[in-house]
Structure formats: C-alpha cells, structure tokens
Symmetry: C2
Subunit: 219 residues, 2 copies
DNA sequence: TATATAATTTAGACAAATCTAAAAATATGT
DNA sequence: ACATATTTTTAGATTTGTCTAAATTATATA
C-alpha cells in the first residue's frame, strides 16, 4: 500500500468512528485537504483492492479488510507516539507530525518489538486507545467534560482535539491526563464551567470542556 | 526532498567514497537498479537543486550541499540501525531494510534525541562510522583482513559487505565485531586464510577475508 | 585516425496522485 | 413535483519518477 492509500483509509476510519457509518466524498476530501474528484479516483482504487465498499454517489465505508488495515496504521501511529514521549522525552503536542510519518514504516516485527519495549501500552499520550496486534480495539466510552453533571468529580482521561494549540493550552493550565477535577458550576450565559483541579479554581469555556474526555468518579 | 532524490544522493555518495570522484550514469543506474535514462533525468533535477555537479556525458559528483545531505541521511540510517539492535534486540542482519525506510523520516529533533538515547554512538552495528550532527565524518582507515601480513594479529572492526547472507555466515562462525584473530597461514592456491579466532582455528576464503575490516594490533 | 562499440542522452510514453472545469446525479424547498 | 442547489463524478491536464527505443557523444581498437 502507498502512503496516500493508507492516509485515505485512516481518514475514512476516523470519520466513521465519530458519527456516520457511510462517509461522503466531500467529508473525505475535507479531511484529507484534497478535492472531491481526487477522492473519487482513490475510492475506485481502494474499492478494487477490497478495502472499501463504494458505489458511485452512495458514499464509502470500510470493508472488514479496510478496518483491519486502518487499525494497524492507527496502532503504529499511537505506539510511535508513546515511544516519542516515553523514550525520547517529546511533549504531547510535538508527536503527532512525526508519528504521521512513522506510521507508514513497514515491518510487523518492528512494531511488535516497539510494543514490547514500551511494555504494551494501552493508551497513547493523548489518552487514545491503542489497537491490539490482532485488531482488538476498545472504543473509548468516556464522556466529555461538557456532558457530565454539575457537582460530580472526574478524572481527565483524554483529549478529543489533539492539536498542538489545544495541548499547550492544557499544559499552561496544568491540566494533564490523570488529573482529578470537580465541576463546581456551569455559567448559564456561555456554558463555561468552573472547576476545581490541582487545588486551584479554573474557568473553562464550553469549547474547552467539549474537547476533554473524562471518567466520572464517586466521591 | 523526496525519498527518491535522497536515495540517489546516498548512492552517489557511496559510489564516490569507494573509488572514483566522478560517478558515471551507468554506475548510479546499476546501484539504484534503474535504467540509465532515469538517472539522467534525476541528475538534471538534482543539479538544478544544487546537490550535484553534472554536465552531460561528464558524469556526476556531489556538491558541498549534496555531501552534507548525504551525510545527514547516512547519519539517520546508522543511528536507526543502532537503535534497532540496542533497544529492540534486532540482529545485525535484520536492520538494513528497516533503516532504509526510517532514514527518510524528517525531524532533526527526532534524530538528535535518538542520538542521545543511544549515548551518541560512533559506529553502527556493522562497524560503519556514524557522521556527526554537523557533518563531521571519520572515514574508516582500517584494512581488510585480506590485506594484512601473515603472522599478525587483528581485531575485527567492521564488514564491507553487510548483506544478510554474509552477516549470517559470520554469526554461524562466531565472528563478531571486537573479536581478536591471528592470521596463521595463507593458502597459495586460492588465497584462503587460516586464522585463530575465539580459541578456534578457522579457514576463510579470499572472498570472506576481503569483506572483513580489521585493525592490526601489536602482540 | 577512422570506425566500431559502449555509454549517455533525448524523445515519447506510462502509472500514480493530484488538479480544474464541465457534466451528471442527488437532494432540497416551496 | 418541479426547479434549483448541492454533491459527486467524469474528462482531460499536470507532476514525478520511471520506462523503451532511438539518437547522440565518447572511447577504444585496429
């Protein structure tokens, strides 16, 4: 498979897991930052290779083989991210671009050995689950901070948006995975939240809160 | 730079350091396993980018910039090889193909951090010197086993041919980098050598002996 | 040194991945 | 349900890296 094919497969997988089953040509084009016509061409090719279900004007979805392929690429991406943070001391906002390249390296043995070196991690530095060697994949069932009731306590377990700007904002405010927080109040006007975290009081906009995955805990 | 461009630069560098200064189109084509006409096309492109000196029918050589580029790629290749052997327990006959992919990953920071993780190694698993961050490069001044006088002792420091078959042959005969050996006799008929290594007596063909780099030691 | 041979380049073609512009199919709104 | 808007596809072009076949230049030999 070419890098381009792999990137399309990955895009379709990600679009599929955050909403619809069947993905539109335009959606893929937007995510890949290409033109819809390029997507159509590629869908024909991937369809011939048995990686996607595709009928013209009907959108696209991954076949079982396509899903397996996507999971393998995502596994590689996330394991490399763990490596970069754990072994090379990169920060979580620096690893995506590099992992984007490393995910295309072809060698099953390499990935298995990397997995072992890292002690078989289950999550990447952004809290995203790492698919297993045989395609086992635990979808994250956590809630967004914006969705949990006022008064509850929760642990920060992941980020929905893993762009460098957002991650650096979190760093600046000492919000890290594993941190405990308590939601004190929701401001009616703009839906911002007042929380306690790390012995401090903090105000988070609705946009921030809807990009933080948390796991509720009983007091 | 594209992977292909990088591979051409590397090929020219290697051809240049094992003989002539000016490299012929055919030599590049043979090494790259492409047709001479493809080489001509690429030389024009690399020439326009200032990476090679090229005049038609006159062969090709690297510019200062081309050499710097080549050293950077080789540095990456060899550091990744060390990583694969030291951190992931690959054997020295398995690493070349994977490093061939990894050498194209773009991130200076990644390579610097990798260098640090590996404690700034000076040689790769085959005994080849690793160029420094700023292009410093110690050419190996060692001799081939086939070139040293009978009766002398030497330490094995590298391999000229690093193909998997040759490396596995060495493994099978317990010849490893760092091993001491003494040349006992040279057979006139086929130039094979009788040596002592690792408390054993061993017979090495001329072909083997001319692919092993050694450093002579005084007794 | 003339000519044969070998090396190299040019010309033209192709596949992959992309694009633009136009056409076709589908979806939407009243 | 029909006209319009949107989405998607097709057709044809472009770029990169490659190829084959033919032409050109260099070299080697007689």
């Amino acid at each position: 498979m070419t890098h381009s094919e792999e990137n399309y497969i990955k895009a379709i997988f990600h679009l599929g897991s955050q909403g619809e089953e069947v993905i539109s040509t335009n959606a893929v084009a937007e995510r890949m930052e290409t033109k819809p016509s390029s997507v159509t061409d590629m869908m024909k090719k991937l369809s011939e290779k048995g990686l996607v279900h595709y009928k013209r004007y009907q959108g696209v979805s991954l076949t079982a083989l396509g899903t397996k392929t996507a999971l393998s690429i995502i596994r590689k991406h996330r394991l490399w991210e763990v490596f970069l943070v754990e072994k090379l001391d990169f920060t979580w906002d620096e690893v995506h671009e590099i992992a984007e390249q490393l995910e295309h390296i072809e060698s099953e043995k390499l990935i298995d050995k990397l997995d072992e070196l890292l002690s078989f991690p289950k999550f990447d530095p952004h809290g995203d689950p790492i698919p297993g060697k045989n395609g086992e994949f635990i979808e994250r069932d956590n809630q967004l901070l914006s969705q949990i009731p006022i008064g509850s306590s929760a642990i920060c377990v992941g980020v929905k948006d893993s762009s460098a700007v957002f991650l650096r904002f979190l760093d600046k405010n000492n919000i890290a995975l594993g941190n405990k927080m308590k939601i004190v109040e929701k401001e009616e006007f703009d839906n911002s939240l007042r929380i306690y975290i790390d012995q401090r009081e903090l105000n988070l906009s609705q946009q921030i809160a809807s990009n933080l995955y948390v796991k509720m805990i009983k007091l």
